[in-house]
Symmetry: D2
């Protein structure tokens, strides 16, 4: 399991009077000169983003930050109210919920788009084969459908058009649109490209690896969960949430259990 | 414990074809139009930042994102290598370490600066009284001193000068400088204003409440921990870290325990 | 900050064919010979418990394991439903909520009992002074009062009587009873000794240090949260909880915010 | 996604003067009468364990609690030293690491044993087919092999013999032994049944469902991580660990990166 040559880190170096992040001088080249989005791109990807990359990462993070009283936000508020000594623990608790049923879909959609765009059979044939495979297994195609936003998720066309306006290559966006047509035909009804699918296409367009794609969602959610902590500080809601939960999930005596 | 009128949330509302965050239309007013920094400010504080506020929050987040193999990064890498199925859990684990001994200092420094700047006795007298109180208790004054960056933390003058160039009121920065003189005299040696102290002053200048100040550090660290996950994916280091830890903290038979 | 001599660990040693925990042979002396409670006491405290210590730790853990749809359980269920790939992350999320407003009270009550029992002024005088101090600050005395269990928390007399039957010294239990009389007089009404107060007294009786007392609550809650994951697997409730939460905490447009 | 009839909970009910866990009276039937192991079995599985079930769960938890400076323990110590205000957050951080590369193997081994024991082709044929499939994919068979314990993991024979002495049906243990012979033949060398494999067999023998098997590991590790917090309180090691990590994973300038 250990790698052959010793592992090294390239993220950060500090001397008595300087700090370098990914080789760039924090004090003289970064603070006051780059945005947080540029900085996080540098830290994760190893180089500063182009203007298009920065705009697209901003659009992705702006899209993913806030979802109201989503499961992760409820978890954060529950934990914050019980352990206010550790704001970071409350955010961490909610973040643990940014998992396969939420941000995992970005990964799955990105993997699907990459598979289709590189298939020797061509995008159309690959899309048909993949959609058929999902349908045969009774699974949703990642990146499609939304419980609330019907008939269409309003974020998706905006994200795709914005990325195109930045001059990205466009092949993953094109593949997503082919996929959308195939999905509608195969399922016999319209299923919207959801925000997750659009985000996946955008991350593919700027060459964010699939295996770290979820990380961008994690960053956005961390910020959103801080906002939920702030609202819980200003207007505590935990007790009302808890009473509502208790009423919604009543106790049933074990002897009547199936 | 429950509040008198029902708790409400003002963060997010969604209809079938629109999403509003803090009352602003996500699709038409935010995506592609604001940076992530502007968006997180909106979500946490309830309004979009001014240009000065945005620049200062960017500078703060850029400063706090990356610290190399710090305790939280080591925790994230340990957890990621053991539970790669849940990238978000690894980030959450490291984030739980962004606590009182790390980000808590921002809070303490911010509270101290606010106390001094609003003291009827004046900044100078209040600074002397507070520093004396810390010294009498054998405690460090929050925001001062650094184990590596001697004689001076290079980030602090940069952050303070940058904020001043943005046209902030400047009273908390001024108070920090008064405090610095008092600290040096009281301790009989030079203790640098550290990055935490400078960050606290900047957050005070743009009216970020003390109780949510730690949240900005949490957001920055979340991004930095994603970068550590990425590096661990590309160059796994966990096993070498673990062997080093085992060698550094040897086993000692219990019967010889003190 | 670093300690003078190198840090060492005394918890565990393994060779090719043996494992020792706190110096005891795991395979030949522990597996199949000690209960989990004895084992965790050994691991945390460094020696196997006496029969009385084991019984009391069992009673404490049995008392603290399950509290129904408490905030930590809701957090665990929210996270599990969103990130089912990582059961451990869901338990960790809920555990992060076992904080100062919940298990912290055990620590505070234990510290108070230790202060009173060792006060040169005697238990009675010390109890009066401490209660007066809490009352003057408008704070609850840790270990007293309960929102649901009125007039008395049924767990407390059971726990105290059980510990006494094990032959503990009894001075912390006695101090708790003195405190209870003082509390009732000072507040002019009956406030029950709650389970947290009784647990604190039991842990003091068997010399569990105050600073690790919360750890026993953490262990018990970890087990309880696994039970909540199990119930969520068998009977998913997250969506109903979420709808109830959304109804209980309605959206309010930001412009009407105070 | 919502279930048809309203979700219910059967874990806990409380009245003003009583608490029931899984229908049993906490005060009169459980506190002082059952061990923590019996209680957690009741809470998770819905009924108290038989004597054999209790002994086997004890043996499993005793086996899994402590592994020295394992990744999860290092994470817990890092987080505790940085955020000592929240002991629970440090345990939660380590627990997040009890993932697929650690406890996940219990699940995989349990699933494999269940598949083999119920295969119409018989245990021997099923074992050969499954092992061949793992080998063809270049994967380890879950439950076999250990980096330190060679040639044999000493815990496994002890666990299997202990369970047999409790009078379990024995079919999963038998299947594990068949599997062991097949593994050795297929790989052309001896691979030990490791503790994870033995634990999986024991949990199968007492009908613990595969999907909650990891939960027992989580409970054991929570207790072990509390022991690591305790040792970190008594003998702080974080700074020495951190220096060792920094030395083991040196910085490399980004321009030399591959």
């Amino acid at each position: 399991m250990p790698s052959k040559r010793p592992a090294r880190t390239r993220l950060c170096r500090h001397t008595a009077d300087a700090i370098y992040v990914r080789g760039q001088d924090l004090v003289n080249e970064l603070i006051g000169k780059v945005t947080f989005t540029e900085m996080l791109f540098l830290d994760i990807m190893g180089c500063l983003p182009s203007a298009a990359e920065r705009s697209i990462v901003d659009a992705v993070l702006v899209t993913l930050i806030e979802h109201g009283l989503a499961p992760s936000a409820v978890a954060t508020r529950m934990v914050y109210a019980s352990a206010p000594e550790a704001l970071q623990g409350a955010v961490a608790a909610g973040l643990a919920g940014a998992g396969s049923n939420v941000l995992g879909t970005i990964e799955n959609a990105a993997a699907l788009l990459r598979k289709i765009t590189t298939d020797p059979a061509g995008v159309q044939a690959a899309a048909q084969r993949e959609v058929e495979s999902y349908r045969a297994q009774g699974r949703f195609v990642p990146g499609f459908g939304h419980p609330h936003h019907r008939p269409d998720d309003p974020r998706s066309p905006r994200l795709l058009a914005f990325a195109e306006a930045q001059g990205v290559p466009g092949n993953h966006i094109a593949a997503l649109r082919v996929l959308a047509e195939v999905v509608d035909r195969a399922y016999g009804k319209h299923l919207t490209i959801n925000a997750t699918g659009a985000v996946a296409a955008l991350l593919c367009e700027i060459d964010i690896p699939t295996e770290i794609a979820r990380g961008f969602g994690v960053i956005a959610r961390a910020a959103g969960l801080v906002a939920h902590v702030r609202e819980e500080q200003q207007e505590p809601s935990m007790w009302e949430m808890l009473r509502a939960v208790e009423a919604a999930v009543p106790y049933e005596a074990p002897d009547t259990a199936t």
